[in-house]
Symmetry: C2
């Protein structure tokens, strides 16, 4: 979502949602786009600048008001815990659902902070002056499926289970009975999505982003303001593209443009000269990973 409201992105996996950052008004945008607030399992907050989290308090209240019972995982800088405690002191109503707070650390270099049956989330440090982390979403690789034409009545169930796990099946004497490559269909590789906002350009990011399917990277300024971008802890569009190229990403999404750009097409053009598969993150637009 890029437009009227500050940063927020919803990562959807099957029926579950995972929110990354939550600027003021995010709950209204989610409501207008009919993106189910109740389906959100985890909220990741990159850093505690207001445009990335001031919408969190209202969203949490709305979850409580709508009777949420499911636990919510909140992955964010430790300081947010104190802010939520202070705010909670004044409402005097206990939340209707458990919030599991997972504090991020700049020492987390690719640490897995969350896993469910659909995805896992890793964090890695960004360089933005204040404590700021990126997030890598990894969809679990689907299981191998059996080649139906190879099955027959009475095909041993234990063998199917081994083959789906990618193991060739031998008999007790060590003779090969069923070969994985012959009996199963290779599943699609696990898809990944990475979120990098806000950060200066840093070659060290490449290690966390290697081969990522879809990379979101901030592009606050154009190259004409590279010095300003660096001074303010931000990147240029060309630098976002360079990161995507170095990481051998499949596609790049850019966003978080400075309000000085009423027309952002030069930023897109600048990035595409370095990394052609660049798109911009507009409010309400969905990208398939």
């Amino acid at each position: 979502m890029q437009g009227r409201h500050p940063s927020a992105q919803l990562v959807a996996a099957e029926s579950a949602g995972y929110l990354i950052d939550c600027g003021e008004g995010t709950q209204y945008v989610l409501r207008d786009l009919k993106l189910g607030i109740s389906k959100i399992r985890a909220i990741c907050i990159s850093h505690l600048h207001g445009d990335h989290y001031y919408g969190l308090f209202g969203l949490l209240d709305t979850m409580a008001l709508t009777g949420r019972k499911a636990p919510l995982y909140l992955i964010a800088p430790e300081n947010l815990r104190g802010i939520l405690l202070e705010i909670g002191r004044s409402t005097q109503t206990p939340p209707s659902f458990p919030v599991h707070f997972i504090g991020t650390s700049l020492a987390d270099t690719g640490l897995n902070v969350y896993t469910d049956e659909l995805i896992s989330i890793e964090t890695f440090p960004l360089d933005h002056g204040v404590h700021c982390t990126g997030f890598l979403f990894r969809a679990h690789r689907p299981a191998r499926s059996m080649r139906k034409e190879k099955l027959f009545a009475g095909f041993p169930y234990a063998a199917i289970r081994m083959l789906k796990e990618g193991k060739d099946v031998y008999d007790d004497g060590g003779r090969l009975l069923y070969r994985v490559s012959e009996y199963t269909i290779e599943p699609a590789p696990a898809r990944t999505y990475a979120y990098c906002s806000d950060t200066v350009y840093s070659p060290s990011l490449t290690g966390y982003l290697k081969g990522v399917n879809l990379l979101y990277h901030e592009a606050t300024f154009g190259s004409e303001l590279e010095a300003k971008a660096h001074a303010r802890g931000h990147s240029t569009a060309a630098q976002a593209a360079l990161t995507a190229a170095e990481a051998k990403a499949e596609r790049l999404l850019i966003g978080h443009f400075s309000s000085r750009y009423s027309d952002i097409s030069p930023l897109l053009e600048e990035a595409r000269q370095v990394f052609p598969e660049t798109y911009y993150a507009e409010e309400g637009v969905t990208f398939q990973v």
Copy 2:
């Protein structure tokens, strides 16, 4: 403003603005309505339920980002101070302007908490379960003006000053020279505006609201839900109207309607049966006091 966004009202006096409550998204509404954020001198927060203050953090950031230097007066429950301190710990950028925090107290019964050359603000306790106060805005009464036809060359300046202050002027021997009623025009009475949200119906409010020109009073429910209103610390439309009638208010504005009412005209009708001069506070609508 009643509509998409939670509570916020802007009281305007000449070129100055005073904001009452500041729900999430208030800064966007102010921007869209072209109500100058830079002109806001004071922000009054009635209580710390999110729909009344979650927009404050973003508004303060926007004031800083746009280079505000003028001091801001923040009149709110003491707990807000701790919340702002916690939030400030994470941004690591000092604010560009001074914020004078004036903590409200439930013991404040008609206490003057703010005065400038245009208006003064008094607080009084509301009954909403949590610490919640109402606000009474009092525009300073304009000075008497002289009846021009009574003036003549050499009319003593000291006498003009006394007459404008409402004092008859005598000579040293105690003889009446100029009578106020004869030489001056009675100024319009000081105009008052009172804000009561959120609160249960309470006859004790009348004392603070006596003769108020414009009264805003919440009307969350209709009379069919009077028990629910009371249990939740809210009022019905009829109760808001009763308060207005008891206070001998000139006009009543009702708002803060429960989202269960897609059509709020029955609430207006209910209030008007008790107090005919009732209107509703719609988003973007301005009322002249």
